[in-house]
Symmetry: C2
Subunit: 193 residues, 2 copies
C-alpha cells in the first residue's frame, strides 16, 4: 500500500513490491495469485465472520433479517480492526482502477455464494436463498459506500440498517396493490431509524 500510494498502482511493479517486502518476485507469486490479490488478504476472514453471523442468528429470524444482522456485525468488526486511513486508500484504488474493481466484485460474488450456502444450512430454499444473498450484498455495498462518504465515518451498522429499510421501501408495492401501499408506508417507517 505504501508503494501504491507513493507511485500509483499501475506504476508499481510486482518486482518493486517484492523488493520492499524483502522477497523476490517469484516468492510474491507463491503467496498471491496475482498482483491484485495483495489487496484482498482480509476477504477470507470477512466472509468467515459473516457466515458465522448468519449461522448464529436466532432461530425465529427471517432469512433477510439474519443476513442483515450478520452484515451489521461484520461491519462493526471491520471498523475496529482496520485503520480508517488504510480503508480509504484501498477504496480509492478500487474506484480508480477497473482492474481492481473487477476483483472486488468477484470477491463480493464469492461472498454471495457463501451467504447462500449459509442460508441453505438454515433451511432456506431456492430461489429465496439466492435472492436474499444478493439483496444482502447490495445492502452491504451501499451501506459501505455511504459509510465511507461521511467525512468522519461513524457507525457502519447504522448505514446497513438504513439501506435495509430503503430496500424494503423499494420492493414494496406488487402487482395487486399498486395504488395504496406507497405514500403512507414510506413516510412512517423511515423515520424510526
Amino acid at each position: 500500500m505504501e508503494l501504491f500510494v507513493e507511485r500509483g498502482y499501475v506504476q508499481t511493479t510486482v518486482e518493486e513490491i517484492a523488493a520492499r517486502a524483502g522477497l523476490t518476485e517469484r516468492t510474491f507469486f507463491r503467496y498471491f495469485e496475482d498482483k491484485r490479490e495483495v489487496l484482498f488478504s482480509g476477504s477470507k476472514g470477512l466472509e468467515k465472520s459473516i457466515v458465522e453471523g448468519i449461522a448464529s442468528a436466532p432461530k425465529g429470524a427471517s432469512p433477510f433479517d439474519a443476513v442483515a444482522a450478520a452484515f451489521e456485525a461484520a461491519g462493526a468488526e471491520l471498523q475496529e480492526r482496520r485503520d480508517l486511513q488504510y480503508v480509504r486508500a484501498r477504496w480509492a484504488l478500487v474506484t480508480q482502477h477497473a482492474e481492481i474493481r473487477e476483483r472486488e466484485l468477484i470477491k463480493l460474488a464469492s461472498l454471495a455464494v457463501a451467504v447462500r450456502a449459509a442460508l441453505h444450512a438454515r433451511g432456506v430454499d431456492e430461489p429465496a436463498a439466492s435472492l436474499t444473498a444478493e439483496a444482502g450484498i447490495a445492502v452491504f455495498k451501499i451501506g459501505f459506500e455511504r459509510w465511507l462518504e461521511e467525512r468522519k465515518p461513524r457507525d457502519f451498522a447504522d448505514h446497513i440498517r438504513a439501506a435495509v429499510v430503503a430496500l424494503r421501501g423499494v420492493t414494496v408495492g406488487g402487482d395487486e396493490k399498486k395504488k395504496k401501499a406507497r405514500s403512507e408506508k414510506k413516510d412512517k417507517k423511515d423515520k424510526k431509524e
Copy 2:
C-alpha cells in the same frame, strides 16, 4: 468463439484469434481493449435497451416495477437476437474462468450505474435509486441463470417475474411486523404467476 470452443480459452492466444479473423494482433487490440472484451460486444446494446425501457415505462409505475419491466423486455430481445447455442457456450466460459466472470460482473456493475441514472431521470432519489438498481440486477442475474438452466429455455420474462415475486417475498417482514406477515402473504401471492 470457434477457437475458444476448439482449444479452450486460455490456450487460445490473441495472435490466433487475430489470424482467424484475418488481422494482426495489433489490430485486434485496436478494436478490443483486451482479450476478454471480445466476449462482450453486445453489452453496450443491452444496456441501451434497458435504459430506454426504464425511460419509457408508464409514469405511474413504481421504480422497481419500471426496472423489472425493462429487464423483461431486454430479456425477450436477447432471446430473439442471439443464438441459444452461442449464449450457452459463452455462459460456459463465464462460469469456468474467473478471469471472464470478473469482466461479466463489471459489466453488470456498469449496467447498475446506467439503471441508477435512468431512475434519477424519473425523479427517484437516493438511496432508493441505487437499491432499486441493485435489486433489479440481482433479479436479472438470477432470472437469467434459471432460464439457462432449463433444458430447452422458454420464456425469459417468466423467470424475471418469478424472481421479482421471490424478492418481494424475501424482503417482506420488517422490524415492526415480524410475526404476522410471513405465512399468509407468501402462499397467496406466489400462486398467481
